[in-house]
């Protein structure tokens, strides 16, 4: 049985906790506190340590889903959780003040996960803010991570089917990366 550890990262209010909730087959573990930083995101609670959920893929592959806090002051949790992860679902809310800048910041912080397995980008809340369009995200990804295959989706974090599509795309990338590494090792 294979196990994958996938991180869900992105700015505060992008829908990381909701995405894990809509994907997980177990009752999720949440570490939320009253949000006192209403200027950054107008919501009642915020994740201060991690979210955790699990989903089974195929017959028996277990995927462990970890959500990290969105605020930089919790970046020690990013470091801890990044070590075990082989892939990243990066959620960016399209109604953020500058979503492309958020994309940049999180790719800079978590971009190394592409080499470990893969990254997908999910643009959320595009029903609230129609722009920037997906091509802007794709263009920026090509600029900051040239030559890397990073799929970009629009997704509603509340929609399990949409999140599953993004997750499956990531897992396919992770398995392909592992196969390539394996064949290179055997050839060497």
């Amino acid at each position: 049985m294979a196990e994958h550890v996938i991180l869900f990262a992105g700015p505060m209010g992008a829908g990381k906790t909701t995405a894990i909730e809509s994907l997980s087959e177990i009752e999720t573990i949440r570490t939320e506190a009253t949000n006192t930083d209403r200027e950054t995101a107008d919501k009642d609670t915020t994740t201060v340590a991690l979210d955790y959920g699990e989903i089974t893929v195929g017959d028996e592959d277990k995927v462990r889903l970890y959500g990290v806090p969105g605020q930089r002051r919790f970046n020690f949790m990013w470091t801890i959780l990044k070590e075990r992860a082989v892939g990243l679902v990066l959620l960016v809310n399209n109604d953020a003040a500058d979503p492309i800048e958020e994309l940049d910041a999180f790719l800079e912080e978590f971009g190394e996960l592409h080499e470990k397995g893969g990254i997908v980008v999910c643009v959320t809340r595009s029903d609230v803010a129609a722009t920037p369009y997906l091509d802007k995200y794709a263009e920026r990804i090509r600029e900051v991570m040239p030559g890397r295959m990073i799929p970009v989706f629009t997704a509603d974090a509340r929609n399990g089917d949409q999140m599953r599509t993004a997750l499956m795309s990531l897992i396919a990338n992770i398995e392909m990366t592992a196969m390539i590494a394996d064949s290179q090792e055997r050839a060497a």
Binding site: I29, R30, T31, E32, A33, T34, N35, T36, D37, R38, T46, V48, A49, L50, P69, Q71, R73, F74, F76, M77
Partner: protein, 142 residues
């Protein structure tokens, strides 16, 4: 902890009165406990309200880490269905850290003691400091 001022909620870490209370409590705390190396009051979501000792960067970092620890403690307690986590102790080689929730408020005290102190005494003074903070904040609200 968030209090209403007119229509705008003011968080504890931005409220000068609450910050003054926190400083007052921390000063008293260090007077009664010589083994105290560092202490900070923080909001549940990881903002420093006030600290004694430590530099600004360290204070902010400890507030964030203590917030995560408290939330993880609460998550474990919730999963085991044993209620909320009142306090957390981290015992290390040369000292320990006690985190104590300010009762009925979204605020936590994190305090670092050296190994000279007994856990019982440290716990007792930390509980007293958290309780004093609750009293001051409640008196202000009343």
């Amino acid at each position: 902890m968030t209090e209403q001022v007119g229509a705008q909620p003011v968080s504890a870490h931005k409220d000068p009165v609450v910050i003054a209370f926190a400083n007052e409590v921390l000063d008293g705390f260090s007077d009664v406990c010589r083994s105290l190396r560092y202490a900070t009051f923080l909001t549940d979501d990881g903002f420093e309200v006030a600290s004694i000792a430590g530099d600004e960067k360290q204070n902010r970092r400890v507030a964030s880490m203590a917030s995560s620890m408290q939330a993880l403690g609460d998550a474990v307690a919730k999963d085991l269905r044993i209620g909320g986590a009142e306090y957390i102790i981290i015992a290390a080689e040369t000292g320990y850290v006690i985190q104590m929730r300010v009762p009925e408020h979204a605020m936590v005290l994190a305090a670092h003691f050296d190994a000279a102190e007994t856990v019982g005494k440290a716990l007792s003074v930390a509980r007293l400091a958290a309780s004093n903070m609750r009293t001051l904040v409640q008196e202000k609200a009343a």
